[in-house]
């Protein structure tokens, strides 16, 4: 294994940790808004780290480009949809969690 | 047992679940979901059995399944429209096949 292999494994593991954190947050957080917050961690950072890890192993620049494009797309769609859900939840009066 | 057999058995399970749900549910949207799951089960059996080769998987079932997926979505769209119409006319999203009590 070369240095880039080790780095790639590191990134992939970090990505998996963020996915786990997203799932745990989705299950454990008390209301829609905090769960939304947890979800975006998996969406943006988790997938981002996995894309970086895989891009280090990619054979051509074209496939690196495609991987990055997928990540950017998920970022764009994920953040817009989180915004729409949160806005709708506020409009509908879904209550925020208070300690 | 190979991977192909595993997926074929899952496909059969899906198909049978779909048939059962189709028979016992009264709500039409459920029946549409059940039909879709039945269809997915059939596709899965077809593709699982197409993958029983060492070389490339048989492309003919794959092509048939792609056709099937598109036909299934158009049939679903039509069924949903029919359901909305039935609900608009009778006020209930179910078929009137049992005698009223």
């Amino acid at each position: 294994m070369t240095l880039s292999d080790y780095l790639s494994v590191l990134f992939l593991l970090a990505g998996a940790v963020f996915f786990l954190a997203g799932t745990v947050g989705l299950l454990r957080f008390p209301d829609v808004y905090t769960r939304l917050h947890a979800l975006t961690k998996a969406d943006n950072v988790g997938l981002g780290l996995i894309v970086i890890g895989l891009a280090m192993q990619a054979e051509s620049y074209a496939s690196v480009g495609k991987l990055l494009l997928i990540w950017l797309l998920v970022l764009l769609a994920g953040s817009s949809i989180s915004h729409l859900i949160a806005k709708k939840a506020l409009q509908k009066g879904v209550r925020m969690w208070r300690r | 047992m190979s991977i192909a057999v595993l997926y074929a058995l899952v496909g059969i399970g899906l198909f049978c679940l779909g048939v059962y749900a189709l028979m016992i549910h009264a709500h039409l949207l459920r029946k549409i979901l059940a039909l879709n799951i039945m269809g997915s089960g059939v596709f899965m059996v077809l593709l699982a059995l197409a993958g029983r080769t060492e070389i490339m998987p048989d492309p003919v079932p794959a092509a048939m399944v792609i056709t099937g997926i598109v036909v299934a979505v158009s049939a679903t769209a039509f069924a949903l429209a029919l359901m909305l119409k039935i609900s608009a006319v009778t006020g209930r999203a179910e078929l009137n096949d049992e005698e009223e009590k």
Binding site: S80 | V5, C16, M23, H27, N36, V65, T67, V70
Partner: protein, 325 residues
């Protein structure tokens, strides 16, 4: 090697169990909305199963249709159904709706239908276990004739050359479903009145991307996974997104131009079929030298028609009627 095959088994087993569990919950959980979300998740997991079964073409079609269109269709029909109920009167409706969503036939009937279904499952399972573990099917026959087909992706070759009549009839079925829906004269929905700036931006950014991906899938279908259906359904999803963002076809385009787009795929297909019939005496038997060009023309027109039909199926009512309610 041992660990590797064990891992493969675990992954496939997990996907299989997950599929069965999702299907079971989607079909038998009490709330209909929950059932629909579970069904969407089922479609997503199905895609992974197709990938595991080495059928990336099917996975693409399932993604484009199962993840995008079926989900949107089910959610929007569910919402329309609920609004019908809500308009009929308040008070009792919530209780009534929940009751009607979980209503099943009488318990006696459950047993009556469960027994033959179980028998059928056992019979089918036995049948599958009896099949020989290796079968080449038609893959060698396809591989031998691939050079004459004009494309190098075997699935596209089957869809648009060897069994092109399947595709012809399929586009006819799509058109038929749309005619059926239009003839039901359902009241158009007018719910996308409020515009949302973020959604507007998302639609503006995603639509060109969807167009690009559709064109790419159409092009790549000749030699790798992709093709007319996948391209058409991605393009159709662009239409669905625009409809959801509140955009409507201008009335000047909703008449004849829309109808021409809807039928161009089927009519080109029929025209080619008739030409081939006159020229070579066989329905849809392409001369190998021109097959590539013919398939390109057929796929392009089919993509346009499939996209237009799918978006129109989602809209549900005739676009030229939607202004007069």
């Amino acid at each position: 090697m041992e660990a590797l095959s064990l891992l493969q088994w675990l992954i496939d087993g997990l996907i299989g169990i997950g599929l069965l569990w999702l299907a079971w919950r989607a079909l038998f959980c009490p709330e209909l909305f929950k059932a629909i979300v579970l069904f969407i998740a089922f479609g997503l997991l199905m895609t992974l199963a197709w990938v595991r079964l080495k059928a990336p073409d099917v996975a693409l079609a399932e993604v484009a249709i199962g993840a995008g269109l079926t989900g949107a269709l089910l959610l929007s029909s569910w919402a329309k159904l609920r609004d019908f109920d809500a308009n009929k009167g308040m008070g009792v409706r919530e209780k009534n709706r929940v009751q009607s969503e979980q209503k099943t036939k009488r318990p006696f009937f459950h047993w009556l239908s469960a027994t033959p279904v179980l028998l059928m499952a056992v019979g089918l399972g036995y049948g599958v276990l009896q099949l020989s573990p290796y079968a080449t099917g038609l893959s060698t026959a396809v591989a031998e004739n691939l050079d004459a087909s004009g494309v190098s992706n075997p699935v596209t070759a089957v869809l648009l050359n060897f069994r092109a009549y399947d595709t012809l009839l399929e586009i006819a079925v799509l058109l038929l479903a749309l005619i059926g829906i239009w003839s039901l004269e359902i009241r158009p929905s007018v719910r996308e009145a409020t515009l949302d700036p973020v959604l507007d931006l998302l639609a503006r950014l995603l639509t060109p991307l969807l167009l690009l991906v559709s064109a790419y899938l159409l092009w790549v279908g000749a030699h790798a996974s992709g093709g007319a259906f996948q391209a058409g359904s991605v393009l159709g999803a662009a239409g669905v997104l625009l409809i959801l963002a509140g955009w409507r076809l201008p009335l000047s385009l909703a008449g004849l131009p829309l109808r021409i787009t809807l039928v161009v795929g089927l009519s080109t297909f029929i025209a080619v079929a008739v030409l081939m019939m006159l020229d070579r005496g066989q329905l849809l038997a392409f001369p190998p030298s021109q097959a590539s060009l013919i398939i390109f023309v057929l796929e392009t027109t089919a993509t346009l028609s499939i996209a237009a039909i799918l978006a129109a199926l989602f809209l549900g009512s005739r676009p030229d009627h939607s202004e007069k309610i």
